[in-house]
Amino acid sequence: MLARVAAIGVVLAVLIAVPPLLGIGWQNAMTNMLIASLFAMAFNLLIGQAGLLSFGHAAFFGVGAFATLHLMLAIEDRSVSFSTPLLPLAGAAAGFVIGAFAGYFATIRSGVYFALVTLAVAELLHSLAPHWDGLFGGEAGLSSMRMPWGGLSFGSTLEVYYLALGWTALSILLLWAYTRTPFGRLTLALRDNEQRVRFMGYNAHATKVIVFAISAMFSGIAGALLAISNETANYSLFSLHVSAQVVLHTFVGGSTVFLGPVIGASVFTLFAFFVSDVTRSWLLYQGLVFVLIMLYAPLGIGGLVQAHMQHWSRLRWPDLAPAYALAGAVGACLTGAVVFLVEALQIVFSPEYAAARRRLDGAWPPIELFGLEWQVFSPVTWIVPSLLAAAGLLLLPHARRKLRESWDGVLERAEAERTAEPEPQLAGAVEP
């Protein structure tokens, strides 16, 4: 516990101390990282704690952003006086109200129906917003400006970053506190067995609506932070792509670990910042990573980390290290092959390449990749990814076997420790 608090303290210290030393681009990326983290945490209150999978959380993210922009516009034309740092309260309130309304409908049904209804609610807003000028500013959306408050100008990216950091840290703290309350416990019970909850005197539907509204409220805060950071918002905030991002972040990070969504959101947003200048296929890679995690590590990165922490004393690194090294090599080979292929194809099929070919009367100019020039029809070009893929695929079964063997050892030791404990007394046994 102490170690965990210390680790969180170190991370917070880094988040506070480092950004002033970075450029504006980085500060912006880190603001986006915080927003995505908070959004994913809010989303995970539903799927991780209550077991409700929403595909339409963009609705509440967007509602939070629009509500905040309306408040900012009102401040701008001086019809309202409001503290700039407290702007996200508008997003929270709007998220909560719309969340309660949408949640009422969505939680009438459970399972896949729930997922579909949430998706439809977001699409409803997505299709409505461009036509509703007064509320959503039509297709162009709403724009406003951050006003100075209390001696702070809120003009710089860094100030916005700290505002986002404060709100994200506070919100995550509140979400953690939530898990310690009676209602937080009830939420977990609901996830495990809704029927029993009803037969223990709880109104399951009302409970679900409240959880939904709270999740929407924190999503609204995240949307508000985005509105403050960008000073603009339009109907595209309601699109399925926004809802999809939060699903990807959460499950790649791991929905069963409290801070798992933060891991996923941070990794993806920072990675996007790194590579978005280099490749247009970033979303494709995201999708591939997500599907691979779903197939091979269903508990996500957070789940892997947790497994290592849980069994730390039982890990035998002399066994594990070679297995991990081999797995890493296989991963590198396959990643290399896939990235090479995708990037090469992306260039060959791009409109720019087609234009270049027209200029050269249909000849196939070489493509530039990883700082080298490759001839499209030269065997060398395709031998490189083929060799990488072949090496990866050849070693893959071996790597999987080694991983399984070394982890089987760990789990066996854990099982042995458990059974070594004194046999618990049979339930219901009558004491002599």
Binding site: L53, F55, F105, I108, R109, G111, V112, Y113, A115, L116, V117, L119, A120, V121, E123, L124, S127, L128, H131, W132, G134, L135, L240, A244, V247, L248, F251, S281, L283, L284, Q286, G287, L288, F290, V291, M294, L295, P298, V342, L345, Q346, F349, S350, P351
Partner: protein, 327 residues
Amino acid sequence: MHRRPRIPRAKAQPMEFLIISALNGVIYGLLLFMVSSGLTLIFGMMGVLNFAHASFYMLGAYIAYTIATTVDFWLGLLVAPILVGLLGIFIERYLLRRVHSHGHAHELLLTFGLAFIFEELIKLFYGDFPVNYAMPDYLRFAGFTIYGTDYPFYRLFIGFVAVAMFITLYLLLSRTRAGLVVRAAERLPAIAESLGHNVPFVFMGVFGTGAAFAGLAGAVAGAFFPTNPNMALELGVIVFVVVVVGGLGSLEGSLVASLLIGLFSSFAVGLDWSLAGLLSWVGLGDWARSVGGVFTLTLSSISGTVPFLLMLIVLLVRPAGLMGERN
């Protein structure tokens, strides 16, 4: 290039509006049914909600486009569903079956990721813009003329393909041994298995058939409606509304809901109704117009929203869907 016929306005030509809108609505509804039938059949049997189902529709359109531009339009219509069906079989056999033990939510997430990948792959190969997938010129003629408006033959053709598909599906389910197993497996998978049927194989077949139907729908409709990387998402969301309204797992429900939503959407496009107009019947029209906002939104401008509103109403009135299970 005008592919969509002129949308008649309700006030100008009431009869024309009625007939054209009804025809458009039925045909759009049939198209929705081509996609939703596979989705609902797969769900009814396997409990898997395939998020990537509308991607099959998109892939069908793009494959048919590729073949139509390089070889022949009709070959595209034939090959696209076959390839998409094979892809469906692959997904069921090698991906879905892998995560089956993790539960339905996990299967849903996996197909969600696949839908994401398909969309990005299409963008990679074909670009993030519509492609020029069009029917051959000799199909570009009026099926009939009504009130001076030509009704495109190709729209009727889409409807014809959908009806043919529906009949095929019906015959497959009611007349063949495989169909019998499908219907048994839908109700009680364990019993079907104990009777000696290879249920996993049946699942694979149903998944492939459902995918092929969606692929066929894409191949046919893509030549008339725009073919772009968003088409899976746009249609997919409506198809999900269809299955919620109709009741997941019910073929009849999905047919009724498809037609219902097709007709609603089609009529909404041509109607300039607004809440302000409605209120003017009770003398509050001017007040409503002065308030603006939601009161002056016309039905035609929110026609895309209508299916979702319909879904919310159905959820309140009949949570299980029009023809869903009672409990």
